[in-house]
């Protein structure tokens, strides 16, 4: 299932993010299709999380546009929206590389907070809710049921009333995904969901993600280091290196792309210099800052053979 055949949910066009003189993302364009799992991979420092932060409004990109199209053809220009409005209106949910749960609140409360905007409307922005109006009581009951549904999906229903901070690491990862799903998104952005998971937890996670794609029909955009996760479940992979896209296609295509192999397995010095120059000329010839950044490539990266 490749991206080309499907309608694009998310279109990223010429996305550029500069921090002072450092170009974290240079002229990145890709699309993510509806009902696809799109993975963004790349070595450390390739700018993957920066892409995520641009998509979810935590950074304002220097250049470029990010267009999200709902099924009803409603378009959202994400680069112009506040972070919370992206979740509220455009329905893009995200998780974080370092898990950000509400540790002192119960698992169920975490999921209830995610349904804030629905419940806020039902509670008449607190005015009628304070008298426990029937509308709010019903909405509140439905929200608990919806949370329970996601707790079952994430296998956490037995721990619903435990504080989120007491869950084991793998459960916290799944809870964060369940919490993001409770915002009823059209696109779920996961920042390294498999980081720190053991193989069994990793498998649970894959099952959960495939379920989200196939049953919920929700597109997933994910950043991942763990190749078994990426190759196993992705429909479409975008490879970044130094903020520049070096490959884009199905898992099979990406796996055999020489540029990806070079970036991941490392190359000899002379060869690398060639690659760097080549890339700088080809991809970002118009931006001299790129060559400078690329030249700083640390030796450790060449040895860093990743799975």
């Amino acid at each position: 299932m490749s991206a080309s055949g499907q309608e694009a949910l998310l279109r990223v066009e010429h996305l550029t993010m500069r921090f002072g003189g450092l170009t974290a993302i240079g002229d990145l364009s890709f699309t993510a299709a509806r009902n696809d799992i799109t993975a963004i991979i790349g070595p450390n420092g390739a700018g993957k999380t920066t892409v995520f932060n641009c998509l979810t409004g935590f950074y304002k990109p220097t250049e470029g546009s990010v267009i999200l199209t709902h099924v009803d053809d409603k378009q959202f220009l994400l680069e112009r929206m506040d972070d919370f409005r992206i979740s509220q209106r455009a329905k893009v949910a995200r998780t974080f590389q370092n898990i950000r749960l509400f540790a002192g609140m119960t698992v169920l409360e975490n999921l209830m907070v995610a349904q804030h905007n629905t419940l806020m409307r039902a509670s008449g922005f607190t005015v009628t809710g304070i008298f426990n109006s029937p509308t709010y009581a019903r909405a509140s009951h439905e929200a608990v049921e919806f949370s329970e549904y996601w707790l079952e999906k994430a296998g956490l229903v037995d721990r619903a009333d435990d504080p989120a901070g007491e869950l084991p690491y793998g459960d916290q990862r799944r809870l964060e995904i369940a919490r993001a799903m409770c915002t009823k998104p059209v696109l779920l952005c996961l920042d390294e969901p498999a980081a720190g998971l053991n193989p069994r937890e990793s498998e649970d996670l894959n099952r959960l993600l495939l379920n989200i794609r196939d049953e919920q029909k929700i597109a997933i955009l994910l950043i991942e280091h763990d190749m078994s996760v990426v190759m196993g479940i992705s429909d479409h992979i975008v490879v970044l290196d130094y903020g520049v896209k070096i490959s884009d296609g199905s898992p099979a295509e990406v796996r055999n792309d020489p540029a990806v192999i070079r970036a991941y397995l490392g190359v000899e010095d002379e060869e690398e210099a060639e690659v760097v120059v080549e890339r700088a000329v080809a991809a970002v010839a118009k931006k001299p800052a790129r060559a400078k950044v690329a030249a700083k490539k640390s030796p450790a990266r060449k040895k860093g053979v990743r799975k």
């Binding site: 974080f96 950000r100 409360e109 907070v113 804030h116 509140s140 915002t183």
Partner: protein, 464 residues
């Protein structure tokens, strides 16, 4: 296996080492105490015919040093050397013993509060003290929304109290009679109460806007400054606020239009009772009780509403809140506004009770006391605020009663002057032993199967 007996020899040896170490430590403590106390206690200056003379008091120094060294030794023998069985934190046991009787504490307290004025032996002094404590409980509950739930450290809370008090004072003495005639005066309190709340909430929003992007220490400093600004404006805007002299002659509350006066048309005559001044005090007591319970009821309800959960989520992690589509700006502003509103109500009550307001009543110390009540009670805990208010305000008042100490202590000793010292020491001690306040459990706002309390060491304190 042969080496096992060795261990039995270790004990006496270890003891003697410990004894030597303790002796050394105690001696060291004594030397340090002497170095510190020598100049401070040992040398006393006094004025003699226009010049300073020095009095040496080495005997007193010796006594003090002995006390310090003795205390250190006692600590060694009684506290530090004991093998401490560190209890591992129970992982949220389903039903905590505390929770078992906690269910009955709140209703019991409310019932007690309702019958308090009619308990035999309860005189005006006790009811007055109860009114004072209830006022602080209400302020504590109001501040708890801002500090305990939303995690925004507010050191200028008393400003909203002042706004409420001045709103009532000005409206009741000048504006309402001018607009609607004198007939309105007995009703002034009930008319002004909501207005005072709204005005205080408005000022809460006004304070909230500039501090939205501030966190932690910076937020604390700005709120502190805000509190002082309000007080300084009250002092200096003499035309409007009466300046340092304040506003006097504020109408006392009436029993829904029936004033508490002797004779025809008064409360006592209407109900066929003998006139007693305490009727008014008891009425005031019930007014503040109702206001405080209202504050508590609203807060408890809000915790179960999305806005309350958003406050708590904001305290836990602001970035995660934003990623879930929560407008953190309006969430913070509602916390400031609602917290301030309750301070406005309490301020109105304060003005009608005192009959007089002046900037003197709204100094930083008041903010500090209210914040101490919240922190001491356990951030976010409603019942904790009650306990802490009783302890702190009660302690202040108890010191007025310790007149027997005057007989024991040297002449010129006045226990009232030591009350801040004692309360300060108590705060330090309580924070040392119960760093998260009296109540260290957070109750979940929604439950799927069974309610489990959350230990507060998991709960964030907020970053401002």
């Amino acid at each position: 296996m042969a080496e096992v007996p060795k261990s039995t020899n270790v004990m006496p040896e270890a003891r003697s080492i410990a004894a030597a170490a303790i002796a050394k430590d105690v001696l060291f403590t004594a030397v340090i105490a002497f170095i510190i106390l020598g100049p401070i206690v040992g040398l006393k200056t006094f004025a003699i015919s226009g010049s300073l003379a020095l009095e040496q008091r080495w005997g007193l120094v010796t006594v003090f040093v002995a006390i310090v060294a003795g205390g250190r030794l006692a600590y060694h023998l009684l506290v530090w050397n004991k093998p401490q069985a560190r209890p591992s934190r129970a992982i949220s046991a389903p039903v905590l013993p505390f929770m078992n009787y906690a269910k009955y504490i709140a209703p019991a307290l409310v019932a007690f509060a309702i019958i308090l004025p009619f308990i035999p032996g309860v005189d005006r002094r006790i009811v007055d003290l109860a009114i004072l404590i209830l006022t602080y409980i209400m302020l504590g509950w109001g501040l708890n929304i801002v500090v305990g739930l939303a995690g925004l450290l507010d050191l200028g809370y008393v400003a909203f109290y002042a706004v409420g008090a001045y709103a009532y004072a000005l409206l009741a003495t000048i504006y309402l009679p001018a607009w609607f005639g004198d007939g309105i005066v007995p009703w002034a309190f009930f008319i002004t109460l909501p207005i005072a709340g709204v005005l205080a909430a408005l000022w809460g929003v006004i304070l909230g806007f500039p501090v939205l992007r501030l966190r932690g220490d910076y937020l604390a400093i700005v709120t502190l400054a805000f509190g002082e600004i309000v007080r300084v404006v009250l002092i200096n805007w003499s035309d409007f606020t009466g300046g340092p002299a304040g506003i006097g002659g504020i109408p006392r509350p009436s029993f829904f239009g029936l004033p508490f006066i002797e004779g025809e048309g008064g409360f006592a005559a209407f109900f066929g009772l003998d006139f007693k001044p305490i009727h008014r005090i008891i009425f005031l007591y019930y007014v503040i009780l109702v206001l405080a319970l209202f504050t508590n009821f609203v807060t408890m309800r809000l915790r179960r509403l999305p806005v309350g959960r958003a406050w708590e989520a904001l305290r836990e992690d602001e970035i995660a809140c934003r990623s879930l589509g929560i407008n953190t700006t309006s969430t913070k502003l509602t916390a400031f506004a609602i917290g301030a509103m309750f301070a406005g109500f309490a301020g109105s009550f304060f003005a009608t009770r005192q009959g007089f307001v002046s900037p003197e009543s709204f100094v930083f110390l008041e903010s500090f006391i209210i914040l101490s009540i919240v922190v001491l009670g356990g951030l976010g805990s409603q019942i904790g605020v009650v306990v802490a208010a009783i302890v702190i305000i009660g302690a202040f008042e108890v010191f007025r009663e310790l007149n027997f100490l005057k007989a024991v202590m040297p002449a010129g000793f006045d226990p009232v002057q030591y009350r801040m010292l004692a309360v300060g020491a108590a705060l330090v001690l309580i924070m040392r032993w119960k760093p998260r306040g009296f109540v260290t459990r957070r109750e979940p706002s929604v439950v799927l199967k069974e309610k489990k309390a959350i230990p507060t060491d998991l709960v964030a304190e907020g970053h401002g």
